[in-house]
Amino acid sequence: MGPSTTFPYLTTLVLLPAGAAVACAVMPKSMSERAQRRAVLTVGTLAMVAALALAVTIAVEFRVGDGGYQMQSVHQWMPQLGVSWHLGVDGISLFLLLMAAVLFPLALLGATVRQKSRSYVVWLLVLEAACMGSFVSLDLILFFVFFELTLVPVYFIIVGWGSGRRAYAAVKFFLYTFLGSAFLLVGIVAVAVIHDQQTGHLTFDLVALQSTHLGLASQILLFLAFTAAFAVKAPIFPFHTWSPDAYSSSPTGGAVILAAVMAKLGTYGVIRFDLTLFPRAVVDLAPLLLTLGVIGILYGAIVACAQRDLKRLVAYSSLAHIGFIVLGTFALSTEAVTGGVLQMVNHGLVTAALFLLIGWIWDRRRTWRTDELRGLQRPAPILAAMFTVVMMASIGLPGLNGFVGEFLVLAGTFLTHRWWAVVATTGVVLAAVYLLWAFQRVFHHAPGPEDEHTRDLGWRETAVMVPLIGLIIFLGVYPKPVLDRITPTVTALVHHVDAATGRVQPPVANGGVAAAASTAAAGGTRASTAASALTAACRHHGQSAWVDGRHVVCHAAVTTSTRRLP
């Protein structure tokens, strides 16, 4: 914990969209419909762009190499209950914050609604405030409040501007998440009460609760209670059944935010709270969650193969990608968790782009059915090109962001849980299958009579897409600045888990051989990537002897760790 900055960046980041929402809500009614629409869109866009600027400032001010919470702001909120307004950002939340800040304005501009623009913008702004709040809350109740608050705007967005069975989908979404949160709330309170009994001080502050001594049994129960909520929100198989309905019934903007930003609340919650508070339970139950993650990858991919509806296809592919994040998180090696965090950002960008693109296809053709669309490539080449890039990123083509995340996740998982990684790799292949199939059906062949006059992307839509594509390529080519900031936090977190459980994992997985040889700097990610490949090689070669001293270290490390691992 460093010196606190004078300017309350995080509080401003949360309150800015909320303030803009209020401003839009109280805008005088006397204006004409069009003037009002323009005004709220302007206010909304300005607020979101300002939030983006603020998020970028936070990223610039962020101290690289510091794994702790930065820019904390602490204020009392409900002192009787020990609830405080405690915000802070670290390497894990920083990029989620940035991702959300990037995606909200794009969702607003990329998918405008025709009627009731004012309430739509208001709900979107409220949602942004709630998402930002969730990512930076370091007080459990404060997190829960924001986490729950996200439900309300999404619910209204689906009911008000959705399509299909929107009321059903909205209620299903609300209830599933609400039910999960019921366990989360009791879990949070139980942790605080146990802490109270141990220290005589009722607080919901994560930093304070970290020192609570919890037995293994209570850790497991509490872990299950917390994870129930996160698994529903993410969604992790088998708690995903609300998501295809909700994604396909919500308007494009809603789907972008739901899949790209809100799904991350679940996976973020797991990393932030489960790993911090219940390390022993996490280690004990990791095989279970890993299995669910792998099932999610395969199931999502297989079901996506069978979809004839583009939006549902993206929804199921999203389930598969969340599986990778879960895999990375519970593999519990620095690389895998780093990969998981990076994959959260990647998945956000890619899914948002996919939902926007198919939203535009809907605007033009009023259908998502792959058998009704044909040969869109000819009338709409820019659309097709953009779709290709995004699709390739989703598949995990090297050079695009999806590859970096998935590679780190799989490599890191291979170190600690080999067979899960092996099975999960087939998911990458399946992703190529369903996405290429869909792409062929929709974009290839000669266009049908209805497809011939499909409009290509306009300048505005292209302008929305360009930043996303740019980020996708940037993160794929040069992820170092991102990884440099994520890794120290993740390393600290994995060490925390190790220290709490007495678990010893391959030193290579904890920052690389170089780190073991005490030569590595904090940001030795490239070294660690190389080391993981090295380790894999070591394992493939079994007990074969290596001459070089460095490789012998590696060999010894792997054998010791395999012996000590349960």
């Binding site: 209950l81 409040v145 909205a170 019921a182 309170v189 109270d196 009722l202």
Partner: protein, 542 residues
């Protein structure tokens, strides 16, 4: 020589006919103001030739409630500075707890008065009876809050209930109203009898009906054969169970809630629960605290089935008042969590819950009363279809209040649920807390169902159904005129667009807005209310 003083004392007792205890009027001043206001209003109106105008009655009631509220705040300062005291020979007590109950009840009476005002105008009911009975009933609830003796609890219970029986029957044009009152009366009288029997048994076992003395007795004596005491305790619990509508003593609730005039339902849900719970908490947590090992398990079971049944059965309802009746049963279960914890934190949590629930429920029933239209008939869920496009503000208010009841963050409902769950987990009843939160999720479904209906567009032509036509009276709507201003029979000014229902009358609008404001403002900034509840301790703190 020791005999002499006692002989003198006996002589003094024999000569003075009635030993009048010293009365500290501050302790009962809010109650006296409420009763005095009621008497003044009815006295004044009986002197007039024609019925007193509703505006006057409402203003006087609001004035009375405000005066009582102010006096309660004076009491608050007294308690803060000189501590809690018992008064009038130990019959009543003035502590933080009683003050909070007084504040709660006076606030509830205040809001109910303004909401009820609009109902009276619309239904064209003349005379001051509604407000007078409400004041009397409220004074009963306040008596239960200050009661320090089982007899005084009973007194308060009866004052509260008898006025409510009449209020339930207050709509002479609806048969259901009479039916509701009869049901309420029969079951209420029955429960009162059970309650009195409980008092008798407790008196028989402990030799006193005074609450601190009971606690004192239990602290000094270990009853080897405590069957009589436990039976008395059980009967008291049953008697309270009827008042707070805990399962399985809830059977009157749906019928009575449905049949009573809607503002009365809101008042009943808030004040009868507040009074019942106030006395229940005081009797059980502070007097029978030592017997908690005996009463905690049954209360655990009671809370559990109350929570589950309230939430599950509400799912099946097609009538919004019945639905909210079951939802109020669910809320009673939540408040029981605080009792079950049997700790100071639990009492604080229950009180806070009661306080914020009062505002939510009165506001909710206020909206329902408006939507029901003239005659107070339309309570089917289908009535709410498309309400958001007809009356956006009303629909918005209802959504906020329902979400608050569901416990969504940044409303007081969330803080209340957090408080009781914390109390329950603190008291070691984590399982019960889980049950409670799961039922909250179930309950969210039926609140949302109303929300969805309101934001689902109504089928064509539904906007011009009976309610609009009736409310606009004879003014034939001309298709070109976007806004109509019609003066209804009762004098209420109705403003509405062609496709919308009549505008919200001022009284109800004020009341509902107040409820929504309290719910949202103290949801975002809970500090003042939680601090208030935190300091509202019982004189005999557990």
């Amino acid at each position: 020589m020791n005999l002499l003083p006692s002989l003198a004392g006996m002589a003094a007792a024999a000569t003075s006919h009635l030993a009048v205890p010293h009365i500290d009027y501050l302790s009962i001043l809010p109650i006296m103001i409420m009763l005095g206001g009621a008497v003044a209003i009815i006295g004044w109106s009986s002197l007039l030739r024609r019925p007193l105008d509703v505006t006057w009655v409402t203003s006087l009631t609001v004035l009375t409630a405000t005066a009582a509220l102010t006096m309660s705040l004076f009491q608050w300062y007294s308690v803060l500075h000189s501590g809690a005291h018992t008064h009038i020979d130990g019959a009543v007590v003035m502590d933080g707890f009683s003050v909070l109950v007084s504040v709660l009840v006076t606030c509830a009476a205040f809001v109910s008065a303004v909401v009820g005002d609009s109902w009276l105008r619309r239904e064209d009911v003349r005379g001051p009876e509604y407000h007078v009975l409400m004041l009397v009933s409220a004074s009963g609830a306040m008596t239960m809050g200050v009661a320090n003796d089982l007899i005084v609890v009973f007194l308060g219970l009866e004052i509260l209930s008898i006025a409510l029986y009449v209020l339930a029957a207050f709509n002479p044009r609806r048969a259901e109203s009479g039916e509701a009152a009869l049901k309420y009366f029969v079951l209420g009288a029955f429960s009162s009898a059970v309650f009195v029997y409980g008092i008798a048994l407790v008196y028989g076992a402990t030799g006193t009906s005074n609450l601190p003395q009971i606690a004192d007795y239990l602290a000094r004596n270990v009853a080897l054969h405590d069957g009589l005491l436990l039976a008395g305790l059980a009967l008291l619990l049953v008697g309270f169970g009827f008042k707070i509508a805990a399962v399985p003593f809830h059977l009157w609730t749906p019928d009575v809630y449905q049949g009573s005039p809607t503002p009365v339902t809101g008042f009943m849900a808030a004040v009868a629960k507040a009074g019942g719970f106030a006395a229940l908490l005081r009797v059980f947590v502070s007097s029978f605290h030592l017997l908690r090992a005996d009463w905690q398990p049954p209360v655990w079971v009671l809370a559990c089935i109350t929570l589950v049944l309230g939430a599950v059965v509400a799912l099946l309802q097609q009538d919004i008042k019945r639905m909210l009746a079951y939802s109020s049963i669910n809320h009673a279960g939540f408040i029981l969590l605080g009792l079950q914890a049997a700790t100071a934190r639990g009492v604080e949590a229950s009180l806070y819950y009661l306080f914020v629930y009062s505002f939510m429920v009165i506001g909710t029933f206020g909206v329902i009363s408006l939507v029901a239209g003239r005659g107070d008939r339309d309570h089917g869920l289908e009535t709410y279809r498309g309400l958001a496009s007809r009356q956006p503000w009303l629909a918005g208010a209802l959504v906020v209040l329902l979400l608050a009841q569901a416990g969504v963050p940044f409303t007081t409902g969330f803080v209340a649920k957090l408080e009781v769950v914390t109390a329950a987990v603190h008291g070691g009843s984590t399982a019960l807390a889980v049950v409670a939160m799961v039922t909250a999720a179930i309950a969210a479904f039926f609140y949302l169902r109303v929300g969805v209906l309101m934001y689902t567009p109504a089928p064509a032509g539904a906007g011009e159904d009976g309610t609009v036509g009736e409310a606009l009276g004879d003014a034939a709507p001309s298709p070109d005129d976007p806004v109509l201003v019609g003066v209804g029979e009762a004098g209420a000014i109705t403003v509405g667009t062609l496709s919308s229902a009549p505008a919200v009358p001022a009284g109800a609008a004020f009341g509902i807005a107040l409820c929504v404001l309290v719910t949202v403002v103290f949801g975002i900034w809970p500090q003042p209310l939680t601090a208030f509840a935190h300091h509202a301790t019982l004189v005999l703190a557990p």
